[in-house]
């Protein structure tokens, strides 16, 4: 079905603003028509978010295309945040890693950061996957239409904030911000936000967010789950602690599957408002108990050359941690070290957070306590760090199911990680 465009949109498509803008509009129109969109709708959020934050050498064609956009004056109509930067000198790396990082892998980094400034980056503190946190300032309102990419941010914006955004790919999200409109389909529509699955959580304890998200993502893939029984563990208030839990849960659903929206009964905004009317007739049912979570975890492959190798590095914070999570980890690490008669962590550990949060935390009393434990605080993207082939050979541990999915990092639950880095478990 051909899409009905406004006069302005049709003129752009016909080349009134040049060939490059015509190609931008053509890409968006083809994208919409693939999914049966009948029209474009305006992007109504104040800010965009792009998933691409790295100037990686092998992606040179992407930056060449971006040069074409800039040269043609095809710039976003809104400022935007971007995913975390791939490099931070505070994160441990050896000489060979540095040579590969700076000399080979991220050879396009300076070029790309300059492109982002020209496109309209919100600020130098806007490099984070958790752009929706208050401290970052890119928090959409309920019902706003976004042109975002970054799977963990999209699923959070849809589910926890009630904004409307499809799981756009990198590049196409920027084109939506440039054109100021996105095709109306999928998660932008009321029907696309209905649940195809009912997930019954029947665990005996509060499920680990990233493990539960993994199980849900692997089962429902790109469909929308309506989750029952989690309010037993989280309650019914969207407080800071629950938002952090849902951030991690959603990231795992999006990386281990392709979930763009979930509803949590009695907790997330649309589930609170609409209840079970969100569930489609004939929705499939998936029951998750403790045994199912164990089964999912046991199924993760370990791709270390020596599966029993001693971990050389630990990453906590993919997606980036909230201020509350930093405080919680500080308390837990400090207490565990004290219990084990130690002062410093026994595995080099990096905790990652948005730049503004990391900087403020480092200056605080709690930040000083964290520093005393030997933990490094960074704004880096752990995934980008692990992309280095030299890093990929290292035995790295993490409690992030996203990092596990894309790299050789090995997943452990938060309690297991705590034990491993504080000398409680060898």
């Amino acid at each position: 079905m051909a899409m009905q465009l406004t006069g302005e949109q049709q003129a752009i498509l016909d080349g009134a603003q040049g060939e490059v803008m015509a190609k931008v509009m053509r890409s968006l129109v083809m994208y919409g028509e693939t999914f049966g969109a009948e029209k474009m709708v305006p992007v109504t959020s104040k800010y965009g978010h792009t998933v691409i934050s790295f100037g990686i050498g092998v992606m040179k064609p992407v930056y060449d295309l971006y040069d074409q956009l800039i040269a043609a004056g095809a710039l976003p109509r809104q400022k935007f945040s971007a995913d975390p930067l791939p490099l931070d000198k505070n994160v441990p790396s050896n000489l060979l890693q540095d040579i590969i990082f700076k000399g080979i892998m991220y050879s396009q980094q300076k070029r790309y950061e300059e492109q982002l400034r020209k496109f309209g980056l919100m600020s130098e503190d806007a490099y984070t996957c958790a752009c929706y946190l208050d401290e970052v300032g890119n928090t959409p309102e309920k019902g706003e239409v976004l042109s975002w990419a970054e799977s963990s941010a999209v699923v959070y914006a849809n589910s926890v904030l009630g904004a409307r955004c499809n799981r756009n790919s990198g590049m196409i999200e920027l084109m939506g911000s440039i054109a100021g409109c996105v095709p109306y389909f999928g998660l932008l529509t009321d029907d696309g936000r209905k649940a195809d699955w009912i997930v019954e959580v029947r665990t005996e304890k509060r499920p680990e967010a990233q493990l539960l998200g993994s199980a849900v993502g692997m089962k429902v893939m790109e469909q929308v789950p309506y989750i029952r029984g989690l309010d037993k563990w989280l309650g019914t208030e969207l407080n800071d602690e629950n938002r952090a839990y849902l951030k991690d849960f959603g990231a795992a659903t999006a990386s281990n599957g392709a979930v763009g929206l979930y509803h949590i009964e009695n907790l997330t905004p649309e589930a609170k408002e609409q209840g079970e009317s969100l569930i489609r007739e004939g929705a499939k049912v998936y029951v998750i108990d403790d045994a199912e979570l164990e089964r999912v975890k046991a199924g993760y492959p370990c791709v270390w050359k020596d599966p029993s190798a001693k971990p050389k590095l630990c990453f906590i914070g993919c997606p980036h941690l909230t201020k509350g999570q930093l405080k919680d980890w500080t308390d837990r690490i400090e207490a565990a070290l004290k219990k084990n008669g130690l002062e410093k962590v026994t595995v080099p550990t990096v905790m990652t957070a948005p730049p503004a949060i990391a900087r403020e935390y480092a200056r605080s009393w709690d930040g000083a306590r964290l520093e005393k434990t030997g933990v490094i605080l960074s704004y880096i993207c752990p995934l980008m760090y692990m992309n280095n082939p030299m890093s990929g050979k290292m035995p790295v541990i993490t409690c992030s199911n996203t990092l596990r999915t894309y790299t050789t990092a090995k997943y452990y639950t938060e309690d297991e990680i705590l034990g491993m880095i504080t000398g409680g478990v060898r």
Partner: protein, 147 residues
């Protein structure tokens, strides 16, 4: 004996290639990133969570899959594979194509010279029938013939 399946042509084109089959969701970033990083011309799949494809060469194959999953860099990764000539011969989806794969295929069609036909909605039967190494022919109208 040849068997034909009729799908929807998302990016029209014709090709003949050997099948490579993923029964689970195809994680584009996880599958391509190591090969692209190392300049692996065969583009061996790096997704440890995909037992069907892990370590198998993907370049020039008729990639048969249900949908893609994972990071929203997926479309950009697919675009880059096309821009550098490291793309599969075609993408054949049993389900309706997902938004990330569609983005990558559409960006490649509009902004590169790469030729990568994309057909979706081929049905579960297609993915049950096709096996690694079978000869695949794709027609402009979305008909896929498996030999």
């Amino acid at each position: 004996m040849a068997k034909s399946f009729k799908g929807r042509s998302v990016v029209p084109g014709r090709c003949t290639a050997e099948a490579l089959v993923s029964h689970g969701g195809f994680n584009t970033l996880a599958s391509f990133q190591m090969a692209m990083m190392f300049g692996d011309k065969k583009v061996k799949c790096g997704d440890q969570n995909n037992p069907d494809l892990y370590k198998k060469p993907m370049a020039g194959k008729a990639l048969c899959l249900p949908q893609t999953i994972g990071s929203t860099t997926g479309g950009m990764v697919l675009y880059t594979a096309c821009a550098t000539g490291n793309q599969p011969a075609c993408l054949l989806f049993s389900m309706t194509i997902d938004s990330l794969a569609a983005s990558g295929a559409i960006l490649a069609a509009n902004w590169t010279d790469a030729d990568m036909p994309v057909v979706d909605q081929l049905g579960d039967e297609f993915l049950d029938y096709v096996k690694d190494g079978m000869q695949i022919s794709v027609s402009e109208d979305g008909t896929v013939t498996v030999d």
